[in-house]
C-alpha cells in the first residue's frame, strides 16, 4: 500500500511517521520546505514529546518524483490546499484522498482534482522543532468518513483508518464524519480568532465575561449553520471551550501565533467556512462575518508600512 502525505508540516509529519512504522506501507511525503525534506531523506523523521519514534518516509519537494499512490492525506494549511492538490493530482489518479485540515471547504477543493475524497478531522497537534524533527504536543483521535458528493468507499476508509490505528494513531472510520468535523470547526472558529484579535491566551479570554459571551455568540451561529446542513454535532462546542480553559489556560491558539509572526491565517476556512455555508443555507452569521473581516483587515495591515 502506498500513501502520499501532502503537506509535511507538524501534522503531516505525525501522519507520515506513524504510517511509516508499518513495514507494508510505503509512505511518500510532499512538502515545499526543502530543509525538512532533505533532513527526512538523510536521517529519517524523528517524533518526540507525546509520541516517540524514528521512521523513514520518502520525502520530495517535487511532486513529479512521487509515484501513483492508493491513498492521500492532505495536511497543508487550508490556504495552500488548492496549490498542493493541483501539484500532486497525478499521484492520486486512482486514489482516495483524505483531508485532515482545519476548517470547512477543503474537501470541496480536493474533489476537483481526485476521484474519491475522505472527510477527516484530527486532534493530535505538534510543532516542528528543527528540520526532520517534530514535537508531538497532544494525542487524540482522528475521524474519517466519506465526502458525500465524491465519496471514497467505506472499505477504503476502513483500510486507511485501521492502518493508522495499527501505526499508533487511533483513527475511527464512520459513515458520517461531518459531526466531528463541525464540532472542531465551531470550536476553532469561536476561539482561534478571538485569541488573535485580543492577544489573550484561551483561558484568560474565557474569563472576560464580555469575551466569553462573544465566543458563545460565534458558537451559536456555527451550530445554527450545522443544524441547517443536517449535521449532528458529536460534542458540545461550549463544553469543549470550557474544558480547554481548564486544561489549556495559557494556550495561545495557532492563529494567535500566526498573528504574532504576521503569517497568513486560516480564517477563510474557519469563520469564512461558516459564513459561506451559512449563505448556502440561508442562516445569518453576522458575528462570524465580522470576525472574518477583522482578521483579513489585520493581515492587510501587515502589507502596509504603518
Amino acid at each position: 500500500m502506498k500513501v502520499c502525505i501532502v503537506g509535511c508540516g507538524a501534522i503531516g509529519s505525525l501522519f507520515a511517521a506513524y504510517l511509516a512504522k508499518l513495514d507494508d506501507v510505503e509512505v511518500w511525503a510532499y512538502d515545499l520546505d526543502s530543509a525538512h525534506v532533505d533532513a527526512i531523506n538523510q536521517s529519517g523523521l524523528r517524533i518526540s514529546g507525546v509520541g516517540d519514534m524514528h521512521s523513514f518516509p520518502k520525502a520530495r519537494s517535487s511532486a513529479q518524483d512521487i509515484p501513483a499512490c492508493d491513498f492521500g492525506i492532505v495536511a497543508t494549511k487550508s490556504l495552500h490546499t488548492r496549490a498542493a492538490i493541483e501539484a500532486t493530482a497525478h499521484v492520486f489518479e486512482n486514489a482516495a484522498v483524505c483531508s485532515v485540515q482545519n476548517g470547512a471547504g477543503n474537501e470541496e477543493i480536493i474533489a476537483e482534482f481526485v476521484p474519491r475524497v475522505i472527510r477527516g478531522t484530527t486532534f493530535p497537534a505538534g510543532h516542528i522543532i528543527e528540520p526532520g524533527h517534530v514535537g508531538q504536543d497532544t494525542g487524540g483521535k482522528t475521524w474519517m468518513g466519506p465526502f458525500e458528493p465524491k465519496p471514497a468507499s467505506m472499505e477504503e476508509i476502513e483500510t486507511l483508518a485501521s492502518r493508522l490505528t495499527e501505526g499508533g494513531m487511533e483513527t475511527l472510520a464512520m459513515e458520517d464524519s461531518r459531526g466531528a468535523q463541525w464540532t472542531k470547526l465551531i470550536f476553532n472558529a469561536a476561539t482561534n480568532p478571538i485569541g488573535a484579535l485580543t492577544q489573550l491566551p484561551h483561558g484568560v479570554a474565557c474569563d472576560q465575561e464580555r469575551v466569553r459571551s462573544l465566543i458563545s455568540g460565534l458558537v451559536a451561529e456555527g451550530i445554527a449553520v450545522a443544524d441547517a446542513l443536517g449535521i449532528k454535532l458529536d460534542g458540545d462546542p461550549e463544553k469543549l471551550i470550557d474544558h480547554a480553559r481548564e486544561v489549556a489556560y495559557e494556550h495561545k491558539a495557532s492563529m494567535f501565533q500566526d498573528v504574532l509572526a504576521k503569517r497568513p491565517t486560516e480564517i477563510a476556512a474557519l469563520n469564512g467556512g461558516i459564513v459561506q455555508f451559512g449563505k448556502q443555507t440561508g442562516v445569518p452569521t453576522p458575528l462570524n462575518e465580522a470576525i472574518w473581516a477583522l482578521i483579513e483587515g489585520l493581515e492587510y495591515s501587515w502589507t502596509r508600512d504603518n
Partner: protein, 319 residues
C-alpha cells in the same frame, strides 16, 4: 451667568483642544485653565500660552489644579479626553455654582457624567477643529473647522446662552455654530467614530481605502457598512435624523481627491491609544451606542462584538 454676556471662562484640561480654546479666549475675556498636573499650571502661570499655525497669539493665562483659585467663571469648557471626564467632574463638584458647562468630548455620555456632579446647565458641543500640542505652553492650530453647540437635551441652558457662547467663540478667532438641537450632528460623528475607530483599533489599520471597499465577501467595507447600518437603526429609534450619513463620511474620508493614496490615511485616536497601550474612549463611542441600543431594544451584534474586542485588548495590556 451675567445678564447678557460671558465675561469669564475656565477651560478644564489643556490638551490640544483645551489649549486652543484657552489661548484664543485669553485675548477676549478673563480666561483660566484647570489642570491636572501642578507643573502644567505653574508653566502656564509663568509663560502664558502660545498659539501658532492658523492663529498667532500669546496669551496670559491663570491656571491652577484647584477650582477654588479660579474665581466664578460664567462658562466652563470641559475639554479633557472622555476617559478623564469623571475625575474632572469630581474636581468641579461644589464649585462654579453660577456657571454653564460645555462638553466637547467625542462620543456620548460625558454630559451625564458632569450632570451627576452638580446642577449646572449643560451645553453639548462637538468640535471639528484640531491642533498639535508641542508643549504645555505651545499649541499649533491646524484644522480651523467649527465647533457645533446646542443645549443639552436633558438639562440645557436657554438657546440665548448658547448663542452667547457661539458669539464668544467666533469673537475669539475660532469658529462656532449654534443649533437648537446638536444631536443630529453629534450622532453622525458618534456613529462614524464608533465604527471606524473600533475597527481600526482591532485591525491595526489607519483610515485606509479598505474601509470603503465592498467587493469580495470578506472585504472590510462590508463590516463598516453593516456596523453603520446598525448604528443608524439606533439613531432612528432615538428619533434622530442624522445630519450626515456616516457611510458617506467614511467614503469621503478615504478618498483623497484623485490621488487616492493610502499613505495619507488618518491614524484614529483609538488606534493611537491601542498602539501606546493607553485606555481608549471606546466606552463613550462603541460602548455608548451599545448602551443606547439596549435601552431602545435595537439589536446591535456588531457593535457588541467590537466593543468587547477593544475592551479585551485593553485587558491584555494589564497582563
Amino acid at each position: 451667568m451675567a445678564d447678557n454676556d460671558i465675561n469669564s471662562v475656565c477651560v478644564v484640561g489643556a490638551g490640544a483642544i483645551g489649549s486652543l480654546f484657552a489661548g484664543h479666549f485669553g485675548s477676549t475675556v478673563d480666561a483660566s485653565v484647570l489642570t491636572r498636573r501642578p507643573i502644567h499650571a505653574h508653566e502656564l502661570n509663568r509663560h502664558g500660552l502660545k498659539i501658532t499655525g492658523k492663529s498667532n497669539l500669546q496669551t496670559k493665562i491663570r491656571a491652577s489644579t484647584d477650582p477654588a483659585d479660579l474665581g466664578e467663571p460664567d462658562l466652563v469648557i470641559v475639554a479633557t479626553k472622555a476617559t478623564a471626564v469623571e475625575s474632572s467632574a469630581k474636581t468641579l463638584s461644589g464649585h462654579f455654582a453660577d456657571a454653564t458647562i460645555m462638553t466637547v468630548q467625542n462620543g456620548l455620555g460625558c454630559e451625564d457624567v458632569i450632570a451627576q456632579a452638580g446642577d449646572w446647565p449643560i451645553i453639548s458641543a462637538i468640535t471639528f477643529m484640531s491642533g498639535t500640542k508641542h508643549s504645555d505652553i505651545h499649541v499649533e492650530y491646524e484644522l480651523d473647522t467649527a465647533t457645533w453647540l446646542g443645549p443639552w437635551v436633558k438639562r440645557g441652558p436657554g438657546i440665548e446662552v448658547v448663542k452667547q457662547v457661539e458669539a464668544l467663540i467666533n469673537r475669539s478667532g475660532l469658529k462656532a455654530t449654534a443649533f437648537d438641537d446638536v444631536r443630529p450632528a453629534q450622532w453622525s460623528k458618534l456613529l462614524f467614530n464608533s465604527c471606524v475607530n473600533s475597527i481600526g483599533a482591532v485591525t491595526n489599520l489607519p483610515h485606509v481605502k479598505a474601509f470603503a471597499n465592498r467587493d469580495a465577501m470578506e472585504d472590510l467595507g462590508h463590516l463598516v457598512f453593516d456596523m453603520m447600518e446598525e448604528g443608524k437603526r439606533v439613531a432612528a429609534a432615538e428619533g434622530i435624523e442624522l445630519h450626515e450619513d456616516p457611510w458617506d463620511m467614511n467614503v469621503e474620508a478615504v478618498s483623497h481627491g484623485s490621488t487616492g493614496q493610502d499613505e495619507y490615511a488618518h491614524i484614529f485616536s483609538m488606534l493611537g491609544d491601542v498602539r501606546s497601550q493607553r485606555l481608549t474612549e471606546v466606552d463613550w463611542l462603541t460602548g455608548a451606542v451599545v448602551r443606547e441600543a439596549h435601552r431602545l431594544g435595537v439589536p446591535v451584534p456588531i457593535h457588541e462584538t467590537m466593543f468587547r474586542l477593544v475592551k479585551a485588548l485593553e485587558q491584555s495590556w494589564r497582563r
